[in-house]
């Protein structure tokens, strides 16, 4: 089972994600530089966090034009699980794989803090091990993390069950307190918080089990018995 971790110039959570996939969940992970292509038989793709192209112009917009995004798109169409975390989410949104846009936080500051997520959709490849409304303590770290959609799109998202995670309280002013969404078929998921920072009890002061289920869900989806 191979999971691809896509690396853009300025990605900085790629190594953290790789560590979690390989050392914590025993998956076979591989880095893919943004100018390379993705193999057709890959089992899942993760776009990690960071500051691709220094967040210039808008977070994620330049990376969204990378050659590898065309492959990501193709894999997405085939139903392969794809996860974008933080900057990875911003890139998925900017490349049109996910709806909405991520704006500057209402505080206008970069925010690094722990918060609680609520699981709203437990049908995706990254949430199938959760109960609905389950709580996940998890850190956020972003400057442009305010998810925005207009009311019409929000209605659509709700109707099509595309809201995956919401914050339990107001964090950055995002529409409907949305923290993560998926595409219509549910295989492409984007989220602002960092699950890779929360799955090891040594660095998670609260509870590392809920975040772990994000990766365990992927294992189940791919039929891996760990």
């Amino acid at each position: 089972m191979k999971v691809g971790v896509v690396v853009f110039p300025g990605s900085n959570c790629d190594r953290d994600m790789y560590h979690v996939l390989t050392d914590v969940f025993n998956l076979d992970a591989q880095y893919f530089w943004h100018e390379k292509s993705l193999p057709k038989n890959i089992d899942a793709v993760i776009l990690p966090g960071g500051f691709s192209y220094g967040d210039r112009l808008r977070a994620g917009v330049i990376a969204a034009h990378s050659p590898i995004i065309k492959d990501v798109q193709k894999l997405a169409d085939k139903g392969i699980p794809i996860l974008g975390v933080c900057n990875g989410f911003q890139i998925l949104v900017e490349s049109g794989l996910l709806p909405g846009v991520l704006l500057k936080n209402e505080s206008l500051n970069f925010m690094c803090e722990w918060t609680d997520l609520i699981v709203e959709n437990n049908q995706t490849p990254f949430t199938n091990q959760f109960k609905l409304n389950e709580k996940i303590p998890i850190p956020i770290a972003n400057g442009e993390g305010r998810y925005y959609v207009d009311d019409d799109v929000l209605k659509q998202l709700k109707k099509k069950n595309q809201i995956v995670f919401r914050y339990s309280k107001i964090v950055n002013g995002s529409s409907n307190r949305i923290a993560g969404v998926c595409n219509e078929s549910g295989n492409v998921v984007g989220m602002m918080p960092h699950p890779e920072r929360a799955v090891e009890s040594e660095i998670n002061p609260i509870d590392s089990k809920p975040s772990s289920k994000i990766f365990e869900s992927l294992l189940v989806k791919m039929g891996v018995n760990n």
């Binding site: 300025g10 959570c13 953290d16 979690v20 220094g54 967040d55 500051n109 690094c112 002061p205």
Partner: protein, 721 residues
């Protein structure tokens, strides 16, 4: 940028001719205080720099410690005071960039950043607020983009920094010992400049750092580019893994001039370079401008011709500039050409080694009377005073600052900012605990004891996490060394640090000197800053939530030492009194005992007692865990003192231990065996922070109210004045 006339004649006599204008610029940059340490170097030698864990290699800009299992930790500290005082955003950001490159040049990956920030009175002074806000954003934007967590630091406000800023940045690196760059050069090696392009920005920067602000050259503004820096880090580490680097040096103060001459001098080689080969931002730059430009985000690499191709491929991948600017010679000369024409040709050894000065010193007049205390207005309502104190900028929580810093990236941060020291996990199964500390209020009153106090405080902080101090970084920041009174305070601080370091066997692994820190109102207070690295072999003490019925045990004596305390200065507006003094044997005993009880896993947490004294330290414990505490002042260890002194004295070597009742006997046995002065002074529970003296209630505060004030007041001050 210019040499003093004495230095000019010295240069002429050393080279036996008139220098060219490019040579003059190169030498002026390298002989500046910032690059040459001409006023301080003679004296810095007194610090102990060796130890069983210290690895010394030539040409390193950072200290290296062997932490076992084939791994090393590197560390360095720098400041960017002058640039930050005029352009806080760019100054602070490029300060981070500079020290990160120092860590990188040893061949280690930067894994943590620390920032020490000092400004004027933000309650009264709009300028100070502006400086503070923008410096924080500068550190945040740069460190966050690099993906290096900023996990600790300090913030302090004092009138002495009016219209000025001290921005200190320390960086810690980690790597395999076998990957350390062993700086060397072979015949036929080439010299490569890698990274951002060279422009006119920052010309005269190091000179600028050595002048007082009044005579500053305002053209020295540096624009940060953290994105390029991030790519440089990735490219260098990849090149390191491929063993493509013979020697590596970052470009900082003095630009190419310093990098070339110091590398040539350290490796005992000559370097011949062509300014036309340097990738520049503007087409019409003169050779001397190229040589002294302090454009950020550049590294110098020496490699050979076969490895060069691979290095160029890596740079291409990461889309960063990479120019072969020269070659290694064996004539020990710094030879700067433009095409065929020579613009400078000097012995590296002359350029890199300015004549060291031995400046006169004299005990300052003000110190004669500073210990005298005046009569204070008695405090009628301590609860009210305490609320005011918790809201004061120096005491209030710094969460507004560190929540803007990504302190989790890299997934090493076991103990996060907000407590005492922060702790990182290392790949060898051990943990690294780090803290930086300064205390200009106490250093002003007693430069020697104040400096020792900073040292002990930083040690105390890492000890609270269960770490044994293994290395120290010092950053000595003072006014003009040409003033003998200021120079005296510099020497006193240095002597104090030396004594403590020797006695405690904590080697100095690096440091920095920043002089000429003068504001329009005069010199800053002496501001030595100490960084301590501590190592934990097994397991750090991670704060466990305090619950009802837990005991509060205080270790160490409280003494009548309120000189330079926040209480005197903020509540009574008084500068003076007796500065806290570290009793070396008591300090050692207490450190050892705290480490022992942590090893036995007895405490739920250990907290350092310092700024704001016992009253603030206890309140912090309560506010963080949202639980009340009843403290009896009459049980506090130490001689009998008036209540305000017990509450607010900032005596050193004191720790607050939180412990479950069931473990208290074991704790007492260890502390008694070690002959430590201690007492159970309080018990947790309820919703109030209460201090009493005998039957008399002194302070009675609701935790939730105190917490709200303490958490929010700094943000409110910054945002709304």
């Amino acid at each position: 940028m210019s040499l003093e006339s004495r230095e000019l004649s010295e240069l002429k006599s050393k080279i036996g001719r008139d220098p060219t204008s490019t040579e003059l610029q190169i030498v002026a940059a390298e002989w500046s205080e910032h690059c040459s340490y001409k006023s301080s170097k003679k004296h810095l030698k007194m610090l102990p720099m060796t130890g069983p864990l210290v690895i010394n290699e030539k040409g390193y800009d950072s200290g290296v410690l062997d932490v076992g299992g084939g791994y090393v930790v590197t560390a360095h500290i720098e400041s960017h005071n002058h640039p930050s005082a005029v352009e806080p955003y760019g100054g602070a950001a490029t300060g981070v960039g500079g020290v990160v490159r120092d860590i990188l040049s040893a061949g280690t990956r930067p894994i943590a950043i620390f920032d020490g920030l000092r400004f004027g009175n933000i309650e009264k002074d709009k300028q100070a607020r502006w400086l503070f806000k923008n410096a924080v954003t500068g550190v945040a934007d740069y460190g966050n983009c690099l993906g290096i967590p900023t996990i600790g630091g300090e913030v302090e406000f004092d009138e002495c920094y009016q219209n000025y800023a001290l921005v200190d940045v320390a960086c810690v690196g980690f790597g395999k010992k076998e990957n350390l760059i062993k700086n060397h050069a072979k015949k036929g090696d080439v010299v490569v400049l890698l990274g951002g392009s060279t422009g006119r920005d920052g010309i005269g920067g190091s000179q600028f750092a050595s002048d007082s602000l009044e005579s500053e050259d305002r053209s020295a503004v540096q624009i940060p580019d953290p994105f390029i820096e991030k790519l440089i880090i990735d490219a260098i580490l990849e090149a390191r893994n491929e063993k493509l680097i013979h020697a590596l040096k970052d470009l900082g103060g003095g630009g190419l001039s310093c990098a070339i001459s110091e590398t040539a001098d350290a490796l005992d080689i000559g370097i011949e370079m062509d300014v036309d080969k340097v990738h520049t931002r503007e087409s019409d730059m003169r050779p001397d401008e190229i040589m002294v430009s302090e454009s950020q985000e550049r590294m110098l690499i020496i490699t050979n011709k076969t490895k060069l191709k691979k290095l160029q491929d890596i740079c291409k991948k990461f889309r960063i500039g990479c120019s072969v600017i020269g070659s290694v010679k064996f004539d020990n000369k710094v030879h700067v050409k433009k095409g065929k024409k020579t613009f400078a040709n000097l012995s590296a050894d002359i350029v890199a080694n300015a004549t060291l000065l031995d400046l006169p010193s004299k005990k300052p007049e003000y110190l004669k009377t500073i210990t005298q205390e005046k009569k204070f207005k008695p405090i009628t309502d301590y609860s009210k005073t305490m609320m005011k104190f918790l809201a004061s900028p120096n005491i209030a929580s710094k969460i507004w600052v560190y929540s803007q810093y990504d302190h989790e990236v890299g997934i090493r941060t076991v103990i996060k900012p907000g407590g005492d020291a922060s702790v990182l996990r290392l790949d060898n199964g051990k943990y690294l605990s780090v803290k930086i500390d300064g205390n200009p209020k106490q250093c002003y009153i007693n430069p020697r004891e104040g400096a020792i106090g900073c040292f002990e405080e930083a040690c105390r902080n890492v000890v609270c996490t269960g770490a044994k101090p293994i290395g120290m970084l010092d950053h000595l920041q003072f006014g003009s060394p040409k003033d003998p009174e200021i120079f005296w305070t510099f020497l006193e601080s240095l002597k104090g640090l030396t004594d403590f370091a020797k006695d405690f066997k904590i080697p100095c692994i690096g440091g920095k000197v920043s002089l000429y820190n003068e504001t329009p109102a005069g010199p800053i207070k002496p501001t030595p800053l100490i960084g301590i690295l501590g190592l934990i072999d097994k397991k750090p003490l991670v704060h466990q939530k305090i619950t009802k019925g837990d005991y509060l045990v205080m270790i160490g004596n409280t003494k009548d030492e309120l000189g330079g305390s926040e209480y005197f200065e903020y509540i009574h507006k008084f500068i003076g009194g007796t500065c806290p003094t570290v009793d070396f044997s008591e300090s050692k005993k207490n450190m050892k005992s705290v480490l022992e009880i942590i090893k036995q896993e007895l405490p739920k947490s250990v907290h350092d007692c310092s700024k704001g004294g016992l009253a603030v330290a206890v309140s912090e414990l309560c506010m963080i865990d949202q639980i009340g505490c009843k403290v009896s002042l009459d049980t506090v260890p130490g001689a009998k003192l008036p209540v305000d002194r017990i509450l607010f004295s900032e005596s050193h070597s004191r720790y607050l231990v939180t412990i479950e009742k069931k473990n208290i006997k074991k704790l007492e046995n260890i502390l008694k065996k070690n002959k430590v002065s201690f007492k159970t002074v309080g018990i947790f529970g309820g919703e109030k922070i209460q201090f009493s003296n005998g039957a008399k209630s002194i302070i009675d505060l609701r935790v939730d109210k105190a917490q709200k004030t303490w958490l929010n007041s700094l943000r409110d001050l910054v945002l709304h004045g």
